[in-house]
Symmetry: C2
Amino acid sequence: MLGLMMQGQLTLTGIMRHAQENFSAREIVSITADNPRHRYTYGDAFARAAQLANALRKLGAQSGDCIGTLAWNDHRHFELYYATSCSGLVCHTINPRLFSEQITYIIRHAEDRWLFVDPAFVPLLEPLADDLSCVNGFVILCDQARMPATTLRNVFCYETLLTQESADFSWPELDEQSAAALCYTSGTTGNPKGVLYSHRAMTLHTYGVLMPNAFALQDDEAVMPVVPMFHVNAWSLPYAAPVMGAKLVLPGQKMGCGETLCTLIREEEVNAAAGVPTVWLALQQYLRETGLEIPSLQRVIVGGAACPWSIMQEFEERNGVYTHHAWGMTEMSPVGTFNGRLPESIRPEERKQRRLKQGRAAFGVEMRIVDDSGKRLPHDGIAFGALQVRGPWICERYFKSDVSALTSDGWFDTGDVATIDPDGYLGITDRTKDVIKSGGEWISSIELENIAVAMPEIQEAAVIGVAHEKWDERPLLVVVTVPGAEVDTAEILRRFHGKVARWWIPDACLVVDAIPHTATGKISKKDLRIQLADYCWPEMLPA
Amino acid sequence: MLGLMMQGQLTLTGIMRHAQENFSAREIVSITADNPRHRYTYGDAFARAAQLANALRKLGAQSGDCIGTLAWNDHRHFELYYATSCSGLVCHTINPRLFSEQITYIIRHAEDRWLFVDPAFVPLLEPLADDLSCVNGFVILCDQARMPATTLRNVFCYETLLTQESADFSWPELDEQSAAALCYTSGTTGNPKGVLYSHRAMTLHTYGVLMPNAFALQDDEAVMPVVPMFHVNAWSLPYAAPVMGAKLVLPGQKMGCGETLCTLIREEEVNAAAGVPTVWLALQQYLRETGLEIPSLQRVIVGGAACPWSIMQEFEERNGVYTHHAWGMTEMSPVGTFNGRLPESIRPEERKQRRLKQGRAAFGVEMRIVDDSGKRLPHDGIAFGALQVRGPWICERYFKSDVSALTSDGWFDTGDVATIDPDGYLGITDRTKDVIKSGGEWISSIELENIAVAMPEIQEAAVIGVAHEKWDERPLLVVVTVPGAEVDTAEILRRFHGKVARWWIPDACLVVDAIPHTATGKISKKDLRIQLADYCWPEMLPA
C-alpha cells in the first residue's frame, strides 16, 4: 500500500525558493578580479540568476545541455550554479588545475554548449579552443570594461548579457531525478570520469550536511567555503548556506592566501569555514606571524585529506576554534562522514583518537568494510578492509557509462581502506592502492605518514610500498623537511618505535626536495612510485 | 537528462539502521504501568522490534495491513513504531481520548488487523469489541504476570509473544512511497479523516525537524516528547532522536503531571522537551510550588496551540529555558514551521513579537496566503489570508478518499488564517472558521485571546463571533477566571484599548466555569458556539 502524501520534488529550485522566502536580505560577500569586496544579498543573487537563465535561453541552451564553468568562488559562480541547474541545464564545473589534455577531454566528453570563464582562465582556454567544437561560445565573467582581448571565438561579456535580461524567469517544475550538476574526478589512472548529480541527490546531501552534528549552520552565522566551487559543489555550501540563511563569504582566487582568509574572517565575522589542511596551514602561519586574532571563527571543517593533529591543536589552543574532520569523495556529492563536536566529558586521549578519525556517516549514507573476498568485517574499530558505501547521494554509474559503478550487491567501493568502530566512527587507514602488503599482511601508509608529519622537522611525508625480495613490499618513508631543519633519518625512523607494530616501521627514510601532487592538491603516490621506480633498499634490512 | 545517482530509498528502516550502526548504546528511558523507570538501549529496542516483526508475521499480518496501537509513550510503543513500519505494515496510532464512536469508526475504517493495547485501555475497548469484526485479536502491552482479566477475544500477552521470537528479522527493502503510518484527525465536523504517511514523507520530515534551526538534537543530549505517540508520530521525535543518537525519555501516561516531568528532567538530565502549552503550565506550577530547579533543560518546543508569553517568559527568566514555537498539523506530519533561536542582537520588543510568531517554514515546506478569491497576498507581515502549504511531507488525499485534498493548483489549505513577514515568519491569526467577520472585515479571535490570557485573573479565554444585527458578527470574549480571582468584566474589556484597533475590541465579556475542549485538548469553539447559540448581546453596544 502506498502512502498518500504530496509528491513534492526535491530540487535545487526548492532551495532557491526557500532562501527567497526567508533570507532574501542575507548577504553573499565575494572577492572577484574586479572588486576586492563585492557584496549583495541572496535576493539580488537569485534575481540575477533569473536574468542569467533568460540569457542562457536566448543563447540557445536546451534542457539537459551541459554548461561549463571555469571560475573561482564568487557571486557570479553562485549565480551560475542556480541559473543552470534550476532551469533544467547541467552545471558542469571544470577544475582549471587539471592538465590541458584533461580539460579538453572533459569539455568534449560533457559536450559543453557554453563555457563561462573567469578572465584569468582565458589564456588557459585559448590554445585548446580548436579542439572544442562542441562549444558554441564563451562568456567572460566580468563587466564590459574589463573584457580581455582574446582569440576565443563567439565571446560574450557576462555583465552585458545580464543587463539585457529580465529578472522574471518562470523556473520549470523539474523532476527530482533530473541531472543538476556534473563534476569529473581526476582519477590517477585513465581518463577523468564524470559524476552526474541529480537534484534529488543534491537536496538530500544538503539536508545531510546541515544536520546538527555536521555543518549545523544558523541564520545569524557566516560561512566561508575555502574549497573551490569548481570541485564537488564546494562541499555543498553554496546550497547549504542559503537553506539556513547563513551569510556566504567567497574568497575568490585567494583561497591559499593566509592574509586574505584572515581579513575575511575578521571583517565578515566568519563563524564556520571549510577546506583542505593546506589552506589552514597558510592561515595559521599568517596568524602566528602577525599575532592577529580571529575571535568570530568557531569551527573549521577539514576534508580532502586527513588533518594533522598539529593543525587541530593549534586552532583549539591558540584560536578557540574546533576542527571537524569530514570525509567524502566526488562520487559522494561529496560528504560521507562528519566528526561532530565531542562532549567535554570524554577524556583527553580518547578525545584525540576520536577526533583524528573521519567521523560518523551522515544520515543517508551507509558504510561497510569488506575483505578481499567481499565478506563483511566487524565494526570493532580494529578490523580494516575495503570501505564500501551506499545511499541516495552516491554515484550509481559514471556519465555516459553503460555499466554500473557498483558491486554486484549494490555498494560503491570507495577505494579506501578503513576501520569502523562500534559507535560508527570511520578511520581511513589507507587507499586500497596505497596500502602496503608486507608478508601477506596490510600496513597502513597513512598511519605512518601521520606519525611522520607530527615530527617538527618534517613538512610533508609520504609512505609507499617498494618491492622487497623477502616480504613482497616494505614501506619507504619519503619526506620534505622544514626549510633549514637538520635531519637525521635514522633518528626519524627510531621515533616510530612504540607507536606502531615493529614490522610496520619503514625500512628507510628518503629526504627529497618535493613530493608530487595531483591537480586537486593531494599527494600523488602514483607519480611518487614512478619517480622512485628504481629505488633500491639500503643494506640494513630489518632483523 | 536524468542524474546517475543511486536510488537509495528513504525509509524508516534507514533510520533504524543508522541508529544501530552509530548509537546502539544510547538509551531509551520509559515510564510504563509495570515499571516506574524502564531503561534499555536503542540496540535492545531494535532487537525487540525484530522479535515483534517476527511475531506479527506469525500472527498473519500481511504487507500493507494496518496494525492499531492504543498506547502511551513508552519503549513498547517505540518498538511497535519500527516493527510495523519497517516490516511493510502500517502503524496506526489511535487516540484514546476520542469518543468511543470515533474510535470504533477509525478502527473499522482502517481495517486494523491487530490492536496493541496498554492494559489501561482494555476497559475502553471491551464495550466496542463487538463492532470490531475486522480485528483478528488483541495484544496487551505488558508481561504475563500483569495480564488483565478481559472479555476481549483472542488476546495475547506482548512480552510472552516476544520471548518466543528470534531477534533476527530480514527487514524488507521497501519502496519509499510505501505507507508507513496512519493517524486520524479529529476534525470538528464529520467523521475523522486518516492521513496515510509514506516512508519518504516521514524520513524527509525527520531531516526537516532536525535542522539546526529546529530540534537540532545532538548525540550527547536527552530529549523528552511530552506529546503523545498516539498522535501525529509524537512530532517525529521517535524518529529524530535515534537519527542523532539523543537519549529518548518517554513519560508514559504521566504527561500531564508536573512532578513526573520535573523528576524525569532532573534525573535523566533532559536537555530538550516538546509539548502543548498546558503541560508546561503543569510543570511550571510544580516548580514554583517546590522551588526545584531543572538545570539541564535548555529548550522547550511548544506546538498544538499558541504558547502564551507568560509561559515563555517564566521559562526564560526562572529556568534559563528557551521556548520555541512550532506549528503544524496532522496533515503535515506534523511540523510546518519552527521558531529558531533569535540572535541576542535583536532588541527586546522585536524579539518578543518574533518569538510569539510560529516561526519559519521548515526546509521542505512552502507557504502562501491567499484571499477569498485565491489571489496570493503579499508576505509583508500585515496582510492576512488563508494559509496554504505544499511539500513532500504534506497530505495529498485522505485515506480511502478518491479525491484530492488539495486546491486545483496543488496546495493544501490549512484552515488557518495567517500573516507571513518578509523574513518568512508565520503568524497564525485565526482558524478560517473562527475568524470573526465584522462589517466585511476580519477580526482575529486568537489575537484577542492572547491579550486576554495575559491578564492575571484570566486562566483561559476564547473569543467567538456572535451574530449581530448591524455588523453581521461581533466578538464575544468568554473567560474562565483563576480560582478566587475577583473579576470586573468592564475593566477587562477596557484593557484591550490601545492594544488592538478599537473596532476589534469584544463587545462583551462572559465569565463561565469551563470552556469545552476537543479530544486533543484544544478549545472547541464549535462546542462553545453551540453552548452560546442563544446568547443575546447586552444593551450597551459600541458607539
